[in-house]
């Protein structure tokens, strides 16, 4: 159910018994699956092949031949090892901050506001409202807020925390802030979806059995909302780790905050396809390993 909770998955799937008429299933599945094979599996394969290519004989930018060249990976790791660590660190921080902000918010909407459907809808609309405005423009708005002439730097200088030479934009702080801000709805919605279905009688029963508020949270509420937390974490961590907008220098980042996504983007557009492909493959593997471990540990029976 990892991602299912995001879409507010309904009741159990056994409601209609599966029938065995596999030729109909084949007709229904074939177009979509073939499409995914052509546009997702094949490009991944091509990415793997590209990552082993080397510059062609008469070297011109963008001309490469297949050569089983492991050096691309060595180069990717050697040159960008630090960037991989940074990518992982930033995404992890953003995920943790988003969780800290989203959980109480989701609890407030899903449980506290349950008696007031109108307010519940309104606050929910506020949470998803950022989705409706281009995320690039939203990120640029933060850049303006954090700019040297902006209110935040001005305030920090006024109270003496910041000297006249200090700045915010282009630091790790603004990049992690941007990532956190941009992915909060992805964290809040799945947690809300699972808390909204939480049967409060369990919590009452816990109270009747003399469980304190802390115990009731740790042993009843949190475990029951765990599917939402799992999908929220994935929906935040995965896109954050591949993001190259927040960290790019035209937005909230600088050359000191480069993330793996920026590297892939820059190399790709300089036509250094093999190394770009090697970085992509490394990023995908680096992301998939913790994701699979996390999904396995949190016991998700069904991925969809």
């Amino acid at each position: 159910m990892a991602f299912g909770a995001f879409a507010n998955t309904g009741p159990d799937l056994s409601a209609s018994a599966p029938r065995r008429r596999s030729y109909v299933a084949l007709i229904l599945l074939a177009p979509g699956i073939l499409y995914l094979v052509a546009t997702f599996v094949a490009p991944l394969g091509s990415l793997v092949l590209t990552s082993f290519k080397e510059p062609g004989g008469d070297f011109e930018v963008g001309e490469y031949v297949y050569a089983f060249r492991w050096e691309n990976y060595a180069e990717a790791l050697g040159r960008f090892g630090e960037i991989f660590l940074r990518t992982f660190g930033y995404s992890l921080l953003a995920t943790i901050f988003a969780l800290i902000i989203s959980y109480p918010l989701a609890y407030f909407i899903g449980v506290t506001l349950r008696r007031f459907p109108l307010w519940q809808s309104l606050v929910l609309i506020l949470v998803i409202a950022p989705f409706f405005i281009s995320f690039l423009l939203r990120t640029l708005a933060w850049k303006a807020v954090f700019s040297d002439e902006g209110p935040v730097v001005g305030f920090l200088q006024a109270i003496g925390v910041f000297g006249p030479e200090q700045y915010l934009n282009g630091t790790a702080f603004t990049v992690v802030f941007g990532l956190t801000y941009n992915y909060i709805p992805f964290m809040t919605l799945p947690i809300y979806a699972s808390l909204e279905r939480l049967d409060l009688r369990y919590v009452e029963a816990g109270g009747d059995l003399y469980a304190g508020p802390v115990q009731r949270f740790w042993r009843i509420i949190l475990p029951l909302s765990l599917p939402g937390v799992v999908s929220g974490t994935l929906l935040t961590f995965i896109p954050a780790s591949g993001d190259y907008v927040n960290a790019s220098k035209d937005f909230l980042g600088s050359t000191n905050t480069v993330m793996a996504g920026n590297v892939i983007n820059d190399l790709f557009f300089q036509s250094f396809y093999p190394v770009s492909a090697a970085v992509s493959i490394l990023l995908m593997v680096a992301i998939l390993i913790p994701v699979i471990a996390y999904v396995a540990k949190s016991g998700s029976e069904d991925l969809l």
Partner: protein, 245 residues
Amino acid sequence: MIPIVYTIVFSFNDARRTNIVWRGFTLDNWLGICDDDRVCEAFGNSIVVGVTATIAATVLGTMIAIAIVRYTFRMRTLITVLLFLPMATPEVVLGSGLGSQFVNMGVERGLWTIIVAHIMFCISFVVVTVRARVASLDPSLEEAGRDLYASPGQVFWRVTLPLLMPGILAAALLCFALSFDDFIITNFVSGNAETFPKFVYVAASRGIPPQSNVIASAVFFLAIILVVIAQLSAGARRRKLAKTG
């Protein structure tokens, strides 16, 4: 909330090329949205891409969703993994993969390659959304249709599909929203074609014209109105059900 307010306020800024410093209130940007014609062209491209990709992905995804819930077949696990992986892969990897595929094959990139990419990443989200609806569908309603001598086609078009419609519409809206706001994948597969997010990204280094704030604000208001209407009508339906039931 701050960025939303900022974007809307700055759509009224009296600025020409770069929209960073507040220069006073004006309605010119709203009245002359297309004064910077590249903004409008990019916006039009976004609509074309969004609508085409949404229709295709919704059809393909709905077919898969029905098959997954209703039928048993071989390689089920493999297909589930295949549907899960595009959602678990960072967008840069999807984008650079498809992008380098197009480069390798010598395909010229443009609007239609953007559409191809958007259909790809939408399908999984459509499957997840519609599948929930198929699963909660009461099979006895379809049985009733068959008992009344409806052909399988009639049952599908007159019973199954209308009952699935709310899920399908939700999936289509989600897909359109994802497509409309996607920049990361689009950037790799777009060639010279510009969508609205790509226009904003390219303009970010040399200054955003205020018209882009106008378009973003207009889309924002439209979306909010649609959501409020949907919420209100859902609430009204619930109250009606509570009364009659």
